[in-house]
Symmetry: D2
């Protein structure tokens, strides 16, 4: 069916690309070895430091986020190295599988896909590791498959309390630019991210922010690597260039995205995401549906995963919503297939767009015959009128308590 108007892209990434960024990436390419590119290179490399809240270098790959996952591993770990990971959901599981495929020995703390990282269990494992065999703790900040945000500061604290030398490697793929993220303050060694979430860009760029400790590790360890090698990147980066042809047009978009984040202000961006998430949860509760995330301190500001009533298929609902509302919702992944749908409210999402999106969900619930109470959108609107009520997810869940 031909639809008028604008598609509502409410998956948890790629997020809709703002017009300014679309125009930027649609600009003629330039010589990647010339002076104009050099300025661009410096700008985006420094801008990334702002976004990651770090003074350490950030390398930018022409790759998906998956590539940036791989880069984090192959630069720091050697075959047979042991790492500690936590099963927060599908993406944590995929990262673990990748590590295993690359020869890394993963201790995987199991989880129910409805909670974030339990820092106490990390402390336990590290404390038990007398031989300091664990080379890295690898966790996902915002688990995109479940809508659960973990407390990275608490993980840092757990490592420190165990006085363990493991690197801390964090997947900030769907949190960067949407949820407060602090590479330096939290003592993260490698932060992995990509372009198509909070940065509002098309997919195609992967990032690694790299602490001095991680850089040191990369010089003495690491798997065979070439494309992903940090050291190959860092040298030309210091003068604004790249070792191989960079994805110039996406870098144009990155420059624009960073400018937009600065203009709105990171704190305002993070507050907006929390506001939209709280409104979404208000709608979900009013519909009588269940939020997948069980711990209010871990509610994701980026997306909300919603459980279907027993016996109803989330993918069928998503199809109806696409047909009647011209809106894309996120599917349940792996063991959650058909059981949840995910509402993305990240990137450039505004209050009114969210209300349109929630209206589309409510229309879809009715059209698909899913048992629910009408009126979720009204509850969401009430929340937007008076934001900041108790259950609103804190930007950094638990930071106040832990820090």
């Amino acid at each position: 069916m031909i639809r008028s108007g604008q598609h509502f892209l409410q998956i948890p990434g790629p997020s809709p690309i703002p017009e300014r960024i679309l125009r930027a990436i649609g600009t003629q390419v330039i010589d990647h070895r010339g002076p104009k590119f050099q300025n661009l290179g410096h700008e985006v490399l420094e801008g990334c430091q702002f976004a990651f809240k770090t003074a350490a270098p950030v390398v930018i790959y022409p790759s998906s986020g998956t590539g940036a996952w791989e880069a984090a591993i192959v630069n720091t770990l050697s075959a047979g190295d042991k790492v500690l990971m936590v099963e927060t959901g599908h993406f944590a599981t995929l990262w673990r599988q990748m590590a295993a495929r690359l020869g890394v020995d993963v201790e995987f703390i199991s989880g129910d896909w409805r909670h974030g990282v339990d820092a106490a269990r990390i402390n336990e494992s590290l404390s038990a590791d007398r031989a300091k065999a664990i080379k890295a703790v690898m966790v996902v900040h915002n688990e995109t498959s479940t809508g659960v945000t973990s407390d990275i500061a608490a993980v840092r604290q757990a490592i420190d309390q165990a006085a363990h030398p493991a690197l801390l490697m964090v997947d900030a793929i769907s949190s960067l630019g949407s949820i407060d993220y602090r590479h330096d303050d939290w003592g993260v060694d490698v932060t992995v991210s990509c372009s198509q979430k909070g940065l509002m860009l098309p997919p195609g760029l992967g990032f690694n922010a790299i602490s001095a400790k991680a850089q040191a590790a990369s010089r003495s360890n690491g798997l065979r690597r070439s494309y992903w090698d940090w050291n190959e990147m860092l040298k030309p980066n210091s003068s604004g260039f790249f070792p191989y042809t960079p994805a110039t047009n996406l870098l144009y978009g990155l420059r624009e995205a960073l400018a937009m984040l600065r203009e709105e202000g990171l704190d305002a961006v993070f507050a907006r995401h929390k506001r939209l998430a709280a409104a979404t949860r208000a709608a979900v509760r009013a519909w009588g549906l269940e939020i997948l995330c069980l711990n209010p301190e871990e509610y994701s500001p980026v997306l909300t995963a919603v459980l279907m009533p027993e016996g109803y298929d989330a993918d069928q609902l998503r199809k109806v919503v696409l047909d009647i509302g011209d809106m894309s919702l996120g599917a349940g992944l792996a063991q959650l297939t058909g059981k949840v749908f995910r509402i993305g409210h990240l990137g450039g999402c505004s209050e009114l767009t969210l209300m349109g999106a929630l209206s589309g969900v409510e229309l879809g619930l009715a059209a698909a015959g899913i048992p629910h109470r009408p009126g979720g959108i009204l509850a969401a609107l009430e929340e937007l009128k008076t934001p900041g009520k108790p259950d609103a997810c804190p930007a950094v869940p638990g930071t106040s308590a832990h820090a």
Copy 2:
């Protein structure tokens, strides 16, 4: 304040420009005397006939709709000529003032800005005009200042019943491409329109569809004219060209807009507009506010003008809505200033975008302290779930009865 996300442009024109059209107008210009342009010229000129439902020529001016108003007058009327016009609202009044400034003698049937054209009164005036001094009946199809749509078929009938030779000239500025409009079937002599409403283009193109009778009138009558002269246009148009440099990039957009109307189908486009309008009215009623248009048969599918409660300023509300919701609503014009606000739901507007817009209005009503009942958005959603209830505005109000 820097806002994230997309501005909601819910004024009754310009309507938001679809991405496809934006890309089209951002394409490199070509030689307006070359073969590539010729193809473009033929395409858009024929496409306009489809949009106006006419086999007669449509001329395209680089101008606003105001220019197309002037073109209609100067090509057909001479100084001192008498015409019959109807005070449906601000735009009818402006067209009348223009006619007067150009030396035309206007009989202006007064109105309350809450009703459409009363065909009976037109019949009366024409019947009384034994000398056939009235050269033209000039009416506005969809009065953009009030949200009232008039029944053009009934006006045609009124003229025919009076057996009067007056030309019928219709302003279809905000109806074309949004409300069923039939230049040929309704025996319209000159239809005036422009680009930035139902055609979803930027402002900058004005149109005149011209019957054979109007063409004949232009050859023997008319005010001094050059830029607006139809005959200068029609000759080069027949081979796809224009007498002076056309607004090529807007014509690229027009080609795309016409393609989009064909793809969705005009009937589907019109039905969508009615559905959105009915939902909007459901919200307004649920809020306990009053719709300006008093006759349900004349509700506009294009926009809804809403009366403020006594003592409250619509422009203050609009300011609040712009600030907190990043949405532009239409102001009350002239005698309606501050008394009404107008919600545009035309062009590429979709159900979800409308729900976002109505949510913005409800947020604004609350934030501005306007007395209202919450829940309008829920009433709108209900309407969208079950469209087609009794009060829904018919595409061509009254056609079934009259035709």
Copy 3:
């Protein structure tokens, strides 16, 4: 035939639109009555004063340049008013025809289409006009049909020496932004221009810069008018708005174009145009072809019209050039049809683009079997190596001598 690469648009307008401007016009439209538009309005209205070198207001019409011609006439002249015009070429002739159609009585100083305005003959006519019946002197600054630039300062002087009160109205359609133009210094009363030449925009905007004297004339004289009425424009313009919906997206482009002119600097822009024109003439001479313009002081920096050898058809050559070189050249117009072709070198044209264009002409001359000496491009290149040789057309032809 499908062609790779970029079309060479070397007609004397529309000139190729720079990428920055294309992106600007392809930006979402905004509320033309909101605060964001107001900023835009102020910016472009002030920017136009910079481009016209005037402190007087400049009004901007959604129209072609032809519309701006009409605006100049209908605001200042009444039916039967006498004006003095000069036959510099096709466009001067068209403007004269328009004036006549609008009821103005034109004294037309005849010309051979190979020279500019003869200020002495203007002085003669005005001196002979004891009754001061001549209300306006109307001349074309850069005659786009011939490539001849007239000395407006000399025309001003001629009027002053005759102590004649006539208004001076100048068509700067193809000179603005390409050739030094000074509305205030030259005492011009109405300057007419448009968007698609030196301003590098798509067609669709017309301009009138209006002296206080012209404004005064418009209050007491003028033809019946509405759309073109200056006074209707000037009032809302003073607060950044327009009386009817402006061509917002073209105004976005105008803002960008004005920024580009400021960045390069008007003097640099004018010098570049002269350099490119000199190189073009060097090529033409080397080919053994004749430049239409006979007076080196009047060579146009904007375009060069080239005479075909006797018995050869310029339009045939243009067709060959389009086919084999994917380049559009300007046709000879009216009495010059088939006799000349015109090479545009205006707007954003650079040295290398010009060399590509001249190469296309030389390829075309060979392919079409036009008698010529090969090597024109080498002569052009020599000129570009050492610009500033004697015959280079001064920015303001003859100013130094006359002023």
Copy 4:
């Protein structure tokens, strides 16, 4: 310095992006798991088969061409595997270094960077390899650092004559879409390419076309891999999807690029590249400069590397050309630094653009005081008038002789 007009990007990639492709990549992103994406996926995957002339699958990575090099290696080779490579220039050397870093044992046939692959020496090495220890022959089709094109059909023949089972892996990075390339006909097992050369896209996509033999090898061999793993790609690709988020906006561009290649026709595209290359060489010879490539059968249709006269610095010339002509030329790389400059004439380059570019070189030679004979551009133009003279580089050098 602010420059007017369009930058001439005449490096051997990225090549200038056509407007159609820029618009395509600037289009809103879609759900990479939805039905609309699925259509896109099928289209580009099939389109790549057309471009590579293969019925085998082509995988598309979000990566640079360097990533696609790595993918070819890690999917087919194991640590310690022996391969045969040929030193055609800088990029062959870099690929060899990558292979070595990844643990592959490279036999590197040395070269002078002025010739292509000597098939006889490949035959020799393979014939000497009785143990069939060599797992792959890896060569560069068009060596971007030197402007030398190798005869891949002859390499195939050399392998066949030696009855050797080695895989044939070819870098077609700068040849695909510019020089006739036949994955299937030439029995290539892995073809490596990327987006920013003949495909006229921005950088950011890497390709591997994979024969059945290579697929089989990848199932039993290969280095540890995850991101680059073909098998992970091929399964979802078969239904139009990707295993991780693809670079959707670049795929939009790819769809458009493939459409453009089909419209012009691959044979026409290849012939155009040869024509432009011949014209470039004519200019170089007329200037009295030396072409780096020594064998006329191996002249590259994609770029021409030009040797500087002894004692003159190519980078200084490039700087002058950038300053005065706003043109980017390719630098000499590694051992050729400062000794050659490279003129790219690939992708969407047209005759007129090339003439502009060569004019820029000639201007630069003069301005930089490089000894040369003026008039190169005239020689180039002559070549364009009468293409097809003896030395023109055949699309597939030597094919007629060898096949």
